[in-house]
Symmetry: D3
Subunit: 132 residues, 6 copies
């Protein structure tokens, strides 16, 4: 099994609902350093899992919808706590939709899975992985 | 599948038994930077895998039993070489016991697996993963 | 010249005033991974620049005044853009005040300088250094 | 499941064939920071997955066949694009051959799998994993 | 004193002249992860050392002249060994020229110094610093 | 001013004397990831600060005198607390002696300074710098 991973980041504000979150119930923020991994069993005719430039581009587009925003006011995220793990899924699912719509070209059809990791600090990160 | 990972560290002395270890048969030591990953298929009602503060706390407690000690004199580790991979298992098993005892609250019951990675230097690390 | 550095982090929301900031004029946020370095020409009688536990403690206290907050609403920061470089100075100056007030014990008087670096992402960071 | 990972690096020149590669069709180069992971279900009698010194040694030998070279002129790689993901497989397969030939001693027979990750920059890496 | 640093990378082929270089006399290559630091004594009216987007942009332009190339064939580098330390100076000097030509706007005139670090692997890097 | 840095590591046991050290008064240990920087104003005729292979070699030799040992029993370190900052100086001074003795060849005479950083964990490190 092969994978290719690209890294980018986003900077957002948000707050959490629920006593378990303690001081994080207040409006605060985070830089998420985001790693998106694309998996497939065999390489294509060019010898790649995916065009790495296209992969970086689609990740940058997905993060562009979230970065420099207060996620508490994002209608697409209403009603959910935008925890690190929940955002990992949001980003993975949006990447999957774009791949299905051809953002990675025809080779995107041969991808078998995605994993997205969000680093919230030097001591904590969360991941979500899913099939394609 | 979701995971959340927290990082902490410990500083221990130890020595190894067996010619394969060469100079590491002498009393020496290590800083282990320890990553503990908690895995589960779906997020809980708060949108988390586990309360990240509680996860960091339980890891810190487990490492507190080992850090600033000579592991050669730890009765709980007698008769085993405390290699990086063996310590990864010791820590994972101790985390699992605490989770079963409720250290992560009722949500701990929904965790499906644990992985523990110990970084012994900038060029070597070892992991152990197990179900819960 | 000797230095000792400790690392911690904080997660804040803020926005910037000024067209140069583009989309960062919107409310957003950041994780700052913060490195505080303490400098002195000679070691003390114990062989240290500073008690590293005390140094980590005073940094954690200073970050505790800022983390999990919207800095736009912090009266102590009113009227300034809380850029990465400006926050590096705020943190260095607050560390210096606490050191003068004895937070690091009498040995704190022998420190000659401080440097604070804030990492805002994997590709950008800022520092401020000052004498003590 | 246990794993042990060792890190090394190599510095090579190469070029790619195919319009998808854009400017990387020109002769250029890369430092690959290479992580090789060795996996097995149980530890051996010494408490290790593999002798970590032997593991580092066999990785260094495999990289020694590639480093400080122009891969476009390497007969063993003729006809393939030496992309990051393709090189991860080349290195994993060469490690597997050496393990089968006894490079890790009799304990090498108990290894169940290998994973090789090549970091081509601070924002991109690729992996290949295979059974043994 | 304040500084702001931005990180980018380039991938080049080259060879060295001189017996001291051993196998690096052969055509090989490197990824250089490049950190450019901009220094100034006081922040400007916006509270910044430099517009960080502009700083990242000018670094990307300078690296764009070098990346995906065989430096042995670059007329601008003829007659010099393009070692890591020599390239750090080339990049710093090119940044300085662009800053003098206004690439960072009028605020660029207040910068006092530049430092450029090139990481050639996980175990080696080189820096060059100069006044502006 | 130019600098070249090489990284290596060592794994030692030790204990500290003095109440300020708390639990670190017990026998424990550390991995020190060690960065040694060599500084000089101008490059030599080959375009380097120092032969990077020779620099890595001399650092490895100096660390070889300390690694896999209990520093409490090292006569060369008797009577001193082997704190991170004290060890940074020990290593820098030993590098300086070897450079004076020709370990880096005649080019070693043109080096102007040394800096040594020891990373004791992911959240703490110490440095010592000196002229040559």
């Amino acid at each position: 099994m092969f994978s290719v991973t690209v890294r980018d980041s986003m900077m957002i504000a948000h707050s959490f609902t629920g006593e378990v979150f303690g001081p994080a119930q207040r409006l605060h923020g985070a830089t998420y350093v985001v790693d998106a991994s694309f998996r497939r069993a065999e390489l294509d005719g060019d010898g790649v899992v995916v065009d790495i430039g296209a992969a970086a581009g689609v990740l940058h587009e997905v993060l562009g919808e979230l970065t420099y925003r207060n996620l508490d006011e994002d209608p697409g995220l209403a009603g959910t706590n935008t925890t690190t793990e929940a955002l990992a899924r949001v980003i993975a699912d949006r990447l999957a939709l774009r791949i299905r719509d051809g953002a990675l070209g025809p080779g995107g059809d041969d991808l078998e899975g995605l994993a997205v990791t969000l680093h919230e600090s030097h001591v904590a990160w969360a991941s979500y992985e899913r099939p394609l």
